[in-house]
Symmetry: C2
Subunit: 207 residues, 2 copies
């Protein structure tokens, strides 16, 4: 039922309700919230979003979001250029950067191989990754994709494509999370963490 | 920690995170979602919001949101102009309109009296309500404010201010919700619904 007292309000609510996880009721709440703000504030809000979409650039090397043609990570001479961490999305880059444990560079695939969703190797930046490896003489590829069937498929595809080159391919460690109780860990994870056990000595030397 | 790969992204995330109920993580998810949309779509999104704030008008009679100086309800000659339902916010107007049970007009207070939050009678449109009653020869005022202490306070204040005029003041019925079980209804509501019992005959005649 259409009971919006204003066409302008209805438009704004419809646009807000297009966002994932935001229904009509929440959209109305947000629109009425924005109506109570000062005009310059709302203009800043709207234009920040429009500008983001209009002016965003993707790094020509790693496909991370960037303000210029090379992202700040690829452009940083202190990062190890020959150690490439392959991730699904920009959010993964941010998550790994937050750990402060990685000093290489990234490659953002922009998705993972998923036959069900119709995503093949040609739809993501695997080709560009291979070209980059050839061009730059990459030493090691770290596969940091989700621990799902799609992630495993993508891992295997990339591994196969790289196998002719003499290049180290690793995946990030999977096992029980820090702070987790063994009894609540699922069997697959626990099983793998026993198979992939690491020497206690190496852990000590990391501290 | 600031790990946004782009200033544009950071700006957009900060703006989105100002919305109520949206934190930094959700804001990032929304920003990345918008990045995947076509440019015209995102422009439509941003400008719908900016336009809402820039061009919105409040009805000069009832303070409902409107596209012109009189809202569509006040401007409708079929509505009973002398029956005014007093509500806290625009959302309440929409909720009552959705019932299809009311054919009068509204008056949006824009808040309720709340000493704790520093909202006094002068901060909401009570003065304008009284002026309107004088001007239009209103027959009845229906108070449809929240069933809270603040709502009751505001009800009483308006009632007192109207008492010199010969005008009918009613409040919307409070009682157990349709479909509710008696045993799960709180005592205050159940107690009131006994005190404010209605004749079965009147209910039959409404069917």
């Amino acid at each position: 039922m259409n009971t919006y007292p204003s066409k302008l309000l209805e438009n704004a609510v419809n646009e807000l309700a297009k966002l994932p996880g935001i229904g009509k009721k929440t959209a109305l709440r947000l629109a009425l919230y924005l109506l109570k703000k000062e005009i310059p504030e709302v203009e800043a809000f709207g234009s920040a979003i429009i500008k983001l979409r209009q002016e965003i650039v993707y790094c020509e090397d790693c496909f991370n979001i960037s303000d210029s043609r090379k992202c700040s990570i690829c452009a940083n001479p202190k990062r190890e250029n020959d150690l490439v961490c392959v991730v699904e999305s920009i959010r993964d880059v941010m998550a790994i950067e937050n750990t402060g444990q990685f000093n290489g560079v990234y490659h953002v695939l922009g998705g993972i191989i998923s036959p069900i969703e119709g995503v093949g190797p040609g739809d993501i930046t695997i080709h560009q990754l291979l070209a980059r490896v050839h061009r730059n003489g990459t030493r090691e590829i770290i596969l940091a994709l989700p621990a799902t069937i799609e992630g495993d498929t993508t891992n295997y595809y990339i591994y196969k494509r790289l196998s002719e080159l003499n290049i180290r391919v690793s995946t990030i460690a999977r096992g029980i999370s820090i702070g987790d109780e063994l009894e609540y860990t699922d069997e697959v994870t626990l099983g793998r963490s026993i198979l992939n056990r690491t020497l206690y000595e190496t852990q000590l030397s990391r501290k």
